[in-house]
Amino acid sequence: MPLPDKYRPEKFDDIILPDDIKNQIKSWMDSWMRHEETKKALILYGTQGVGKTTLAGVISRCYNLPLIEMNGSDQRNRENMKKVALMAAEYRDLFNYEQNYPDRIILIDEADNIFESRDPAKGGDSGGISELLEIIKNTLNPVILTMNDFYEFKRKSSAREIISLSISMEITPYKKRSERNYHIYIQKLLERLKYIASNENIKINDSQLMEIIKKDEPDMRATLNDLELYRGGNNAEDAYRDEQESIYYVVSKTFKSGNYNDIINSLYAINGDTDFPGFYMQWLAENAGMEYKNPEDLKNIFDILSQADIYYNMRIRDYSLSSYSMEIAGGISFEANERNEHYVKYNFPAFIKNMSSRKGNTERYNIQTVLEKLALVNHMPSNEMAKYLWFYKFIKKHDRKLFSDIIKILEITDKEKNALE
């Protein structure tokens, strides 16, 4: 079971949302329980992953009323809405219904996707919103609507009337980062994640937790999904400094998550400098070989990566190519037939590391310095010089006189001489 489902809150106390939101919801439900309801429906709107559906579940549990759900995948046409209407308003005990209602909660998830158009050419659903209005007018049970885009919903005909019969609440753990609720959100979520991590035996340190919190905020579902990526116990905290953590994490996501939208969002969230896509692709190139053992997959993955690399380098002509390249690179895992389910510890790109640590490595150092000295007399760059190094090795073997002149004039050391073997 995915972590967001396994650890979905079951009590109001477990929900990480400001108290006034929870209190308002409770008092709305209480009014239903006392048969004093003035607003028949509750509209919960807000960005994804903040807990709108979770709230409906908690209400159902706390008030001990079954939740009748019409979820996002159902078709929202008039006929289907009618069935919901029946369930909402259906009377059952002619004599007792006054005492027994409400006996269920109706949840219409993603209500902003209900179509009003009666023209099948414009989406096929028809009359859904007017039917929804009828439901709310006649219901004997609390109706909860959730939606992302309240403002878009508002513009639909009949929506205004629905809104006037409802309480509309924005669900968000905080409005601004500067407010107290934000600190509570961070603190509570961190606590919760630590609990889940230890329960699931996921090894992750606080700064890594903070990083996924910050990256996904306020989407708690995404935060929990991201926690999954640390499963398998890596030693990231020892091996990688903070600045490398985010790239490590997005690389792991690229190979493992299987959610392209999520990968792309993470890439944009990193908000690195203009060199970031290049750096990211170096990471992918370094680690693809560990991730994919099937030669065909490896070939296909690298083929895509090399194409992305070309677009990246063409950004000097058309800057937007840079973002294409990052998105293409982010999608490489979808080109593989097999996904590697095993944990892989990702390495910092050796190519970059070697480029910057040449001076620390004596063998590399000697090759470099001798190339530089030879390049100087030849009016050429030292890396070009490597192609002509054979000539000096040849001279060393066959023309002692010239070779000792070269050594003297260029002050070539014994160690550097060895590099000419």
């Binding site: 060199d275 030669p295 990566l305 690399d309 950004r315 470099q368 890396n383 054979w390 004039i409």
Partner: protein, 318 residues
């Protein structure tokens, strides 16, 4: 002076530079006007880019050319800041000639990142009164358009056979030894139009004392070594990780370019006994990789992709 023939016989006048006569004509007319625009010299190694730049400086500045000509290269002096610092210090000092400008020769300009190139563009403008830039590169496509548009681009191509052979003959005459036509043909064949390589081979066979096409091909074997063959075999056998670290050594320690390595691989398998279908696939993979690098791909990523493809071709054989 060291007895290295490539330097000893470097032309000191523009008219002595072999290769594109059109380029030389244009540059000579600049010399006549005593002014030059910013220039880009684009072409493969050993085709006379540096020689042309030095000869141009000598003709413009005479004996004081060394004081008025700064040679920098983008790939050695890592970091655009160091380059800019060098440029600033050089450009600040008043030119010691009556032309009123000095020349900065920036080799391997295509190795600079686009951001570094953009920074350089401002430097070019700042010092235009006293300095002219000559950018040398393998591919002008890797130079950002704003710099290209400020420069006159001159293209250099591999040296043709007649010119190369006659230059080699002239050198052998000065060095007092005889060389037959077949040996000259062999040198041309191996050099692939790279004059520096050709002169290196000429000097190498002179030191052996045995001047014959056979010796020349033996030396050629030493140039290519078996490194490239080893790299191909490793990949074909599916040792992708090992092949990658060998590639890494070639790219980083020896500073070879992706194209160099592809060319080396290509010549090393040409006469190998490999099933024809696989050979065809390998050659196509090499061609595609070279094509992508020329289009602007990053060496190590494109080469990694090549090794992955070779591993796949190898896995199909087995």
């Amino acid at each position: 002076m060291l007895d290295i023939w490539t330097e000893k016989y470097r032309p000191s006048k523009l008219s002595a530079v072999i290769g594109e006569s059109e380029n030389i004509n244009r540059l000579e007319s600049f010399v006549k006007d005593k002014n030059i625009p910013h220039l880009i010299f684009a072409g493969p190694p050993g085709t006379g880019k540096t020689s042309t730049a030095i000869a141009l400086a000598r003709e413009l500045f005479g004996d004081s050319w060394r004081d008025n000509f700064l040679e920098l290269n983008a790939s050695n002096e890592r970091g655009i800041d160091i380059i800019r610092e060098n440029i600033k210090n050089f450009a600040k000092i008043k030119p010691s000639n009556d032309l009123g400008f000095k020349i900065i020769f920036l080799d391997e300009a295509d190795h600079l990142t686009p951001d570094a190139q953009a920074a350089l563009r401002r430097t070019m403008e700042m010092y235009y009164n006293t300095t002219r830039f000559i950018f040398s590169c393998n591919y002008s496509s890797k130079i950002i358009p704003p710099i290209q548009s400020r420069c006159v681009v001159l293209r250099f191509s591999p040296i043709n056979k007649n010119e190369m052979v006659s230059r080699l003959k002239a050198i052998s005459k000065k060095e007092n030894f005889e060389i037959d036509d077949e040996s000259l043909d062999a040198i041309y064949e191996i050099s692939e139009g790279d004059m520096r390589k050709a002169i290196n081979i000429l000097q190498a066979i002179k030191t052996t004392g045995k001047i014959s096409p056979a010796t020349i091909y033996q030396i050629a074997g030493e140039i290519n070594k078996n490194e490239y063959k080893k790299l191909i075999l490793m990949a074909l056998e599916g040792n992708f990780d090992e092949a990658r670290s060998m590639l890494d050594k070639m790219l980083v320690d020896y500073g070879l370019s992706g194209i160099d390595i592809i060319k080396g691989m290509h010549s090393s398998i040409r006469n190998e006994q490999i099933a024809y279908r696989q050979k065809l696939q390998i050659i196509m993979a090499l061609a595609e990789t070279e094509f992508r690098i020329v289009e602007g791909g990053t060496d190590n990523i494109q080469m990694d992709a090549l090794l992955a493809k070779l591993s796949y071709i190898g896995s199909e054989i087995n």
